[in-house]
């Protein structure tokens, strides 16, 4: 029906669809298809497309495994009632630039499962064209994650002006930056110049430079310059919070390195 009925759309949570000013001739609701569960297998977590953001926030085992970044990413999205309707599938398939969920998932080892295209890494999926396909699951592979999500909002429940998530798994860092305001971008640890488990001040400086080297632009939430500056600070903070510094001196020095980057010069 999605392919043969022109203009047909899958209804996710319906939170954004209802705000659009257009006629949708055919809406397909898959909410009774059993895609509202988080399943755990031996090596991955399978998040159904109709799992709500509230379910994701309250999923204790999944959040423990992901160092709490998924709960941290959705916690400030409007209110509890909103998060009980908005779905993970709707957030991911929409590939919204402002998405907090995508930014957090991107730093983790995440794939999406589509009916036609099969399993695709999330980083590949967010750049794919909007094909007529059905997203069924978001898959987070099991690793020993160390992760932190950071964002800046002008007011509680507002869109993020910019957001960043750092995660270390399989011995490497992964750094996602979103709300640029374009779609989130992923930098590997090597691209960001961060290799060690406890990033040094030099490594943090390289990461800040790499993050500020991404493309940013202006909108109502912030100027291009403001975003570029903030992104560097938030990415460095995420790295420092995610890293498990063994010495208080190392942690203090890293926090001081972040603090030095806070003022716009």
């Amino acid at each position: 029906m999605l392919r043969f009925r022109k203009g047909a759309q899958i209804l996710g949570g319906g939170m954004w669809m209802r705000l659009s000013d257009r006629t949708i001739p055919c809406v397909i609701d898959l909410s009774d298809c059993g895609l509202d569960k988080i399943e755990e297998t031996e090596d991955e977590y399978r998040i159904g497309a109709y799992v709500t953001l509230r379910d994701l926030e309250c999923a204790g085992v999944l959040n423990d495994a992901c160092d709490g970044v998924l709960a941290a990413a959705v916690r400030d999205i409007v209110g509890v009632q909103f998060r009980r309707s908005a779905t993970v599938g709707g957030s991911v398939f929409g590939r919204f630039g402002f998405s907090d969920v995508i930014c957090a998932l991107l730093a983790l080892d995440t794939e999406v499962e589509l009916v036609e295209a099969g399993r695709v890494p999330l980083a590949t999926f967010i750049d794919m064209p909007y094909e007529l396909d059905v997203l069924t699951h978001i898959i987070v592979k099991k690793h020993d994650y160390q992760a932190s999500y950071q964002c800046l909002r002008k007011a509680a429940t507002d869109f993020a002006t910019v957001n960043a998530c750092a995660a270390r798994w399989d011995g490497a860092w992964h750094l996602a930056v979103g709300a640029r305001p374009a779609k989130a971008r992923l930098l590997s640890g090597a691209e960001a110049g961060v290799v060690s488990a406890e990033p040094s001040c030099d490594e943090l400086a390289h990461a800040i430079e790499a993050v500020r080297g991404l493309t940013y632009s202006s909108n109502l939430w912030g100027s291009e310059r403001y975003r570029r500056h903030l992104a560097g600070v938030l990415a460095a903070r995420a790295l420092v919070e995610a890293a498990r510094y063994t010495s208080p001196e190392g942690l203090e020095a890293a926090r001081a390195a972040c603090a030095r980057e806070e003022a716009i010069r």
Binding site: L11, G13, G14, M15, R18, L19, T23, P25, V27, D29, S31, C58, R75, D76, V78, G79, V80, Q81, F82, R84, S85, A156, T157
Partner: protein, 179 residues
């Protein structure tokens, strides 16, 4: 609206209601047309929380639920929760937690939902329900905009209400007063 209609049937406040409606009609518009005027239409952009109802026992924003999705489900508004809400309404009055009162129906629906969620979570963990932290309360109240109270009195009312509902909360309040 497309002009086409679909036959729907929902359980509204314990009574079966059947109608022929446009599939994109919002649940908000439908329940108001059924006389549930406690459900208010304000922002219509899922931000203010005034249109909060329970869909299958969970607080949702009725302005964002199309009737096509509500079809076959149970919907509860404040009109159907008069007995349950009386205790919290008393706590609100005692703590001065309402001024103009416009946001109160949505707030009450959300707080009663919070109580249920705390109770269910505690039961699942085999524990006694605990008093929500200020952070947890703020997380709930973020979905209900109030421009009168500043939320301080609402937090007090929630604490008083939870203490009246959960034994462990009452003990915590007494212990806090003794300190």
């Amino acid at each position: 609206m497309s002009g086409k209609t679909m036959d729907i049937s929902i359980n509204l406040n314990g009574k079966r209601v059947a109608a022929s409606v446009s599939p994109d009609l919002s649940l908000l518009a439908f329940v108001r047309a059924q006389g549930c005027k406690s459900v208010k239409c304000a922002c219509e952009t899922t931000n203010c929380g005034l249109c909060t109802v329970w869909l299958d026992g969970q607080a949702v924003l009725s302005c964002a639920v199309p009737m096509a999705r509500a079809n076959g489900h149970a919907v509860m508004t404040l009109e159907g929760l008069q007995a349950e809400s009386a205790d919290f309404a008393r706590c609100m009055a005692e703590e001065g937690a309402e001024q103009c009162g416009f946001c109160s129906p949505g707030l009450i629906m959300n707080v009663l939902s919070m109580e249920r969620e705390i109770r269910e979570r505690a039961a699942a963990a085999g524990e006694e329900p605990q008093m929500p932290s200020d952070e947890e309360m703020d997380s709930y109240l973020a979905g209900n905009l109030c421009r009168c109270t500043g939320y301080t009195s609402q937090r007090r009312a929630i604490r008083r209400y939870m203490a009246s509902r959960f034994a462990a909360c009452a003990q915590a309040v007494v212990a806090g007063q003794e300190e």
